[in-house]
């Protein structure tokens, strides 16, 4: 029983951040020492980050997981039979597929992430890859758009606009050149789904973009990825090169008459470039300044041409919709939020990670049951959903179901699906201040409410924190937030009021502060 053993060690950036490369090195060293033939596969992460680095050994009965593994653990793991998938070691988690946290998920978009070798097109094919693209070629553009419309897929960047309608608009536009742009400028704190998918299943993104290209008649695609994601950029570039060599993309997509090529472009640290029109400006080589709408990017987008600009998760969900049908996808979810959402559980949580499930799960279930409560062991006090522009929810709102409309009804947003948990040591006045501070730092400067309002907001909150006329200053904050909400050009200035006002509304005790003694001048 000394055949080749396949061992999976994630190359996901978060796994590397907690020692996956050192673990991989230790496994190779131990294999040489033991004279065992080990094939190391650097997969993506399964998304159970409290267990990273989580390694897996392939056995006749399926993959067996171990985690969290440190390089120092490899010696004892090997001694207790790691290379044979022995399950006696204290770090053994049992068969990967039986881990309850994974088993209870509905992985449609992330079905392959963490399973396959992200650099292997054969592996991708063996796990159902390219079925969606093949079907798209078979049924043609109009039917592809009909499937996406039927699926009920809405923009996963946060705006929740129906993807099928966006595609139809671009398909109907007449132009010599059209573009597909993937928004991978995932700047929201608490989100990492785009990064995980690019690192763990990049062919899925390529397939989704090629399908979009066929649907609307676009022959070129750009992935605009933030510079903070070097591993994701490298993995995607590698996959694009493989896909091009294999004829998956290029002059003839899978041998069809459709041409489609794509490349990755790298941002430069501007949060506002996650806003679609600022992103297009940046892609064109300009300052990332927000454009007024109309014209819509669907009519005049990149370089003035009709452009589909979709969030990465929207595009990466298209292959499964095409492969299994729009109706299959639509049958998950609640209300007008159809399908699944890769929810990212982050911050002060015992079990943080990527949890893909149908819309409708409550915030409380996500935080208390799936997330297991705080990592610090202290009570949960506030949960920010939807990134730095999302509202802070108190425990009293934990019955809110994960659904675009339900969150909006409670002055919150689903956003890109990030959930950041804070324990009772959080000072909500400081969080409100940070929301303004971040907006000031990242404002593109085009519109006044965002550019000036954010700076004034920091100043007024500082007065509240110092206990200076808190009542009248809080009235001023509310007034300022109204102006920003209704007067800003894009969501940066327009949504900064969500974290600020939710903090004030749900945690008023943090804003009722004694006056600080005046400093001697």
């Amino acid at each position: 029983m000394t055949g080749t053993v396949r061992i999976f060690v994630p190359k996901d950036m978060a796994a590397i951040a907690v020692g996956a490369d050192e673990v991989a090195g230790a496994i190779i060293g131990a294999a040489v020492k033991a004279g065992r033939d080990v094939k190391l596969v650097r997969n993506g992460s399964r998304g159970l980050f409290w267990l990273e680095p989580m390694i897996e050994v392939e056995t006749a009965e399926g993959r067996v997981a171990y985690g969290p593994v440190a390089a120092e653990d490899i010696e004892s793991l090997v001694a207790s039979g790691l290379f044979d998938g022995d399950r006696s070691h204290r770090l053994c988690l049992g068969p990967t597929e039986d881990i309850a946290w994974l088993k209870s998920q509905t992985r449609l978009t992330f079905g392959r992430c963490g399973v396959v070798d992200p650099a292997s097109l054969d592996d991708y094919r063996a796990h159902g890859g390219l079925e969606g693209l093949k079907r798209a070629i078979e049924i043609g553009p109009a039917e592809v758009i009909a499937e996406v419309t039927t699926s009920g897929l809405r923009g996963r960047g946060g705006a929740g606009f129906p993807t099928g309608i966006k595609w139809k608009t671009v398909a109907d536009a007449k132009a010599e050149q059209k573009y597909i742009v993937c928004n991978a400028d995932e700047g929201d704190s608490g989100t990492f789904a785009d990064r995980m998918l690019m690192e763990g299943d990049p062919f899925c993104l390529i397939e989704g973009m090629a399908i979009a290209g066929i649907a609307v008649g676009a022959t070129m695609g750009y992935v605009y990825c933030r510079s903070e994601y070097p591993h994701a950029i490298a993995a995607t570039n590698e996959a694009i090169a493989v896909a091009r060599r294999a004829g998956v993309i290029g002059a003839s997509v899978l041998g069809s008459p459709h041409a489609f090529d794509m490349e990755v472009r790298v941002g430069a640290g501007a949060y506002v470039c996650g806003e679609e029109t600022a992103l297009l400006e940046s892609l064109e080589g300009k300052r990332g300044m927000v454009r007024p709408k109309p014209p819509l990017p669907a009519h005049k987008g990149l370089f003035g041409k009709p452009t589909v600009i979709n969030n990465l998760i929207s595009l990466a969900t298209v292959p499964v919709i095409l492969a299994r049908g729009g109706a299959f996808y639509r049958d998950f979810g609640m209300g007008r939020s159809r399908g699944t959402m890769p929810i990212q559980l982050a911050g002060n949580l015992k079990h943080g990670g990527l949890y893909e499930t149908a819309f409708g799960i409550t915030l409380g279930a996500l935080v208390d049951e799936i997330g297991g409560g705080t990592a610090s062991g202290r009570p949960v006090r506030a949960v920010q959903v939807g990134g730095p522009l999302g509202a802070y929810f108190p425990r009293a709102l934990f019955d809110t179901p994960f659904d675009y409309e339900a969150f909006a009804a409670r002055d919150g947003l689903v956003g890109h699906g990030g959930v950041v948990v804070f324990d009772d040591s959080v000072d909500m006045a400081h969080q409100a201040r940070f929301a303004f501070e971040f907006c000031a730092l990242e404002s593109c400067g085009k519109c006044t409410p965002c550019r000036i309002g954010s700076t004034r907001g920091v100043e007024v909150i500082d007065r509240v924190i110092a206990g200076t006329a808190p009542t009248s200053n809080l009235t001023l904050v509310a007034d300022l937030c109204e102006t920003m909400k209704f007067g800003s050009l894009c969501a940066l200035g327009g949504f900064t009021p969500y974290p600020v006002m939710s903090a004030i509304r749900h945690f008023p005790e943090d804003f009722d502060r004694p006056a600080l003694p005046a400093a001697a001048e």
Binding site: A14, S189, A268, G285, G418
Partner: protein, 164 residues
């Protein structure tokens, strides 16, 4: 001639080299950011002398090029220290106490966020989200991601980088 003491930017300002880099990318649609990234990779910053060269190659004004360079947080006007530590201070890291962690580290180094130590060894910068939000607090040291930071672990990482 600007002298550059950054090993990431081991190359001194070299007009010919800059011209080559610009020419390599100038044909791309929307070439400005790819050119700026490539120049910074080479020189450790976007040298002032490169701006009129980019302007000429892309048929832009110098003001437009300057406007683009200054808009983006990533582009430096001068090279950083020998090593660069980027500390994430976005919400997920805040929820795991990054504020205190950063204060302690900066106190020990005797610098403020955004500054370089007097010996030029280390630049510490704030960054807003690395997408490592379930293994917070996180940072990048010379481009290498590190997570689950404690004061001791961060100290060790900084020391190791400086000694390397």
């Amino acid at each position: 001639m600007t002298s550059v003491s950054n090993p990431h930017a081991s190359v001194l300002w070299n007009e010919g080299r800059a011209a080559t880099i610009i020419a390599e990318h100038a044909g791309m649609p929307g070439a400005t950011l790819p050119i700026l990234h490539a120049l910074q990779e080479e020189f450790g910053c976007v040298p002032e002398a490169a701006k009129p060269m980019i302007a000429a190659a892309l048929n832009l004004s110098r003001a437009e090029v300057h406007g683009v360079v200054s808009f983006y947080h990533d582009f430096r006007s001068a090279p950083a220290g020998r090593h660069v530590l980027k500390l994430c201070r976005a919400e997920a890291c805040q929820s795991m106490g990054c504020g205190r962690l950063h204060e302690g580290a900066l106190d020990k180094l005797g610098i403020a966020m955004g500054e370089t130590t007097a010996d030029g060894q280390l630049t510490v910068e704030a960054i807003y989200c690395l997408g490592l939000c379930a293994t917070a607090p996180s940072a990048l040291i010379d481009g290498r991601p590190v997570g689950r930071l404690t004061p001791e672990r961060l100290d060790g990482i900084v020391r190791e980088a400086i000694l390397s």
